[in-house]
């Protein structure tokens, strides 16, 4: 009786503990996110991280301001590129020439609208530019830097 009791207890414990083992053979259902969804999520994360001084740039007389944004897994790259992004925006404000073309085609009875816009600044010498504000945030596994540059032209 004693042996029967022990065997029953052993089997009970064995079956009970077996329930705690993870089943490796059953594959997890993959979470498929579309490219658009990923981009949308990234955009949302960036907007949340964006400081108000970058979102609502306060323009002042005789100054051109731009807020550059860059994301990278490397802190240095995100900082360098955010400054370059701001400088690029200032260059575009100073000198940007654009050409656009639009056309409508009919394919299989449906009209398809095509457009093209090309712009170029040419070489612009950007001088007297200073960093007014800068902030780096961690967004997921990456660094996002916001840099406000100001160009004085008086």
């Amino acid at each position: 009786m004693n042996i029967f009791y022990k065997v029953t207890l052993f089997l009970f414990v064995y079956i009970f503990l077996n329930g705690c083992v993870t089943n490796t053979e059953v594959a997890e259902k993959p979470i498929i996110q579309s490219r658009e969804a990923i981009v949308e999520k990234e955009k949302e994360d960036m907007i949340w991280a964006m400081p108000t001084w970058c979102e609502n740039l306060k323009q002042e007389p005789f100054q051109i301001k731009a807020c550059g944004i860059a994301k990278s897994s490397n802190l240095q790259t995100s900082r360098t590129r955010s400054e370059l992004d701001a400088r690029k925006q200032i260059t575009k404000i100073l000198n940007n020439q654009c050409n656009s073309s639009e056309q409508e085609e009919t394919v299989d009875g449906k009209s398809v609208f095509k457009s093209s816009l090309s712009c170029e600044t040419g070489d612009v010498n950007v001088k007297n530019v200073i960093v007014i504000n800068r902030k780096t945030e961690r967004v997921n596994l990456e660094f996002v830097t916001f840099t406000v540059l100001s160009l004085s032209y008086r």
């Binding site: 490397n74 802190l75 240095q76 900082r79 360098t80 370059l84 400088r87 690029k88 200032i90 260059t91 575009k92 940007n96 398809v112 609208f113 095509k114 457009s115 093209s116 816009l117 090309s118 712009c119 170029e120 600044t121 040419g122 070489d123 612009v124 010498n125 950007v126 001088k127 007297n128 530019v129 780096t136 961690r138 660094f143």
Partner: protein, 267 residues
Amino acid sequence: MKYIFKLFITSIIFITFSANAQEFVSVEGQYSYGPSISQNEACERAKMNGKNEAIRRVSGESVSNDTIENCVQEDCKLYEKTWSSLGNNTVIKSTSNFKKQIVVELGEKVCKVTFDAEIVVIKESENKNFYITTNFGNKKKVFKASSSKSAKDGDTLKMKITLSQPSYLYVYGWYPIDNENKLVKVISYPQHGEVKESYNFPPEGEAFFLISEANKNNSASEYLLLIASKQKIDLGKDIDFDDMKKLLYDIPIVNWAKKRISYTVIR
């Protein structure tokens, strides 16, 4: 005699100052780093960032941007390219009061350096009577690369380089994907005989373009650096950018001129 000597010295000082503008700036440079690079290397890069900032403050930065947006209905693709270049006619002569510290920001180590830089800007107007012109045009061009050295099935280039007076001409190539710090000698002129006022590049036939095996991209942006000199100079076969600048700026600016020919090679 003493008066003439004084006048001579004063003239030399005046000429030196009118040719070069000198400025001192205090700058900060920083570089964040992970385990893949050493602290010394990070601080060297921080110093380089500081030097770039010093040049930017004194002579500005040349930035150009090209964008193309193509849309089919509401599906748009944006291509953008930004070029930035620093240091045209600007040389950092010396640095002093160098200080460095290592700080931690957002969990990453950052080397911060501060120093004073002595910067010399060589006035271009002083060199207006010695210059280089080409028939390449001002716009950046795109060339199709040949599939191999022997195939020669890509685009070709033939260019006429004209100098404002008969001089020596040195052509160096900058191929950043192969080596971003080095300039590779392509050719020097005259190949035979006397110096001339114009040279053909290449001297015979046409130049073809190649994309190196190391380049995993489908394009490579490069440039040719043309250096004209009234005197013969030994710039060597392959030369570091910094060494090239040091060599050139030891020669009076009235005796040499440079020009960049930028282009993109696509597969």
